[in-house]
């Protein structure tokens, strides 16, 4: 048996800001251009594929983020609780999409680490090193942006008001976290 090792397994609270790492969230990259691809995704997971840039759609279990005109990221709300169904979503989609050449389906669960940022100061934290203007993002729940944070690629999903999920590649996670903590400690 193999055991799972988290990058960091804790959450830290600052004044008006909580930074928590949430691992073991299934993430799947979807790519495709064909009409069949779009309809098939909708049917398989019961979410409409967001085709408008910088937006997302979701249902009770899943979030589907627009990344580019032919690329989306799917992630689950809940952590995987049993190793029995760890590959269910991937296998289902792979069978429905990739196998029949509608597009590509790739498991990227551990390519990205999800960091939840919550509190009044989330946007102040982002302003320490994101060149992106969050004005419209802040006003629209479900907004998605791919940008850089301290020169590191990130995907940020506006989940709720002052409650964001930030995705960073696993190998960069330790560096970005310690940078964020340093910044948060001075805010």
């Amino acid at each position: 048996m193999l055991s799972y090792n988290s990058v960091v397994n804790d959450s830290i609270k600052y004044n008006d800001l909580t930074i928590s790492v949430v691992e073991s969230i299934t993430k799947i990259n979807l790519r495709g251009k064909k009409r069949d691809f779009i309809t098939k995704i909708g049917k398989s997971i019961s979410i409409l594929l967001p085709t408008e840039s910088n937006t997302s759609s979701n249902n009770e279990d899943l979030n589907l983020l627009w990344l580019s005109p032919d690329e989306w990221m799917l992630y689950e709300n809940e952590k995987i609780n049993s190793e029995n169904d760890i590959y269910n979503l991937e296998d289902e989609l792979f069978k429905e999409i990739s196998k029949i050449n509608y597009g590509s389906v790739t498991n990227i669960t551990d390519h990205w680490v999800m960091i939840n940022l919550k509190g009044q100061k989330v946007y102040e934290l982002l302003s320490t090193s994101c060149p992106f203007d969050f004005k419209n993002f802040k006003q629209n729940k479900g907004s998605v942006v791919q940008t850089i944070f301290n020169h590191i690629d990130v995907i940020i999903h506006h989940k709720k008001s002052n409650d964001l999920n930030l995705f960073v590649r696993r190998s960069f996670c330790d560096h970005l976290l310690s940078w964020m903590r340093d910044a948060a400690s001075r805010m």
């Binding site: 840039s53 060149p131 992106f132």
Partner: protein, 91 residues
């Protein structure tokens, strides 16, 4: 630092992009038929003009799409951005 209007994502800071040199240079379909000089023309020769220049840019830290830009090199004014495969909207 430019503000670049990615044709897919909208206005973003230049630091999200990388530049890919001159646009509208088509890779020859039949390289074998070309002389060394003709191949060298495709491979090495690039314009470097003062004025409006057509360039390739990549939204490297965003949607990762390549697109074209018409930029005046004398004042950095971006006259247009347009998708790959499209004709320049200005002369």
């Amino acid at each position: 630092m430019f503000l670049i209007n990615c044709p897919y994502c909208g206005e973003r800071d230049q630091s999200e992009f990388s530049s890919g040199g001159e646009a509208h240079i088509v890779r020859p379909k039949q390289p074998k038929e070309l002389s060394d000089d003709q191949w060298a023309e495709f491979l090495f020769m690039r314009k470097n003009i003062k004025g409006v220049q057509f360039e390739r840019w990549n939204h490297a830290h965003g949607c990762r799409k390549w697109f074209n830009m018409a930029r005046d090199t004398s004042n950095d004014k971006i006259h247009a951005v347009y998708k790959m495969g499209e004709k320049p909207p200005i002369k």
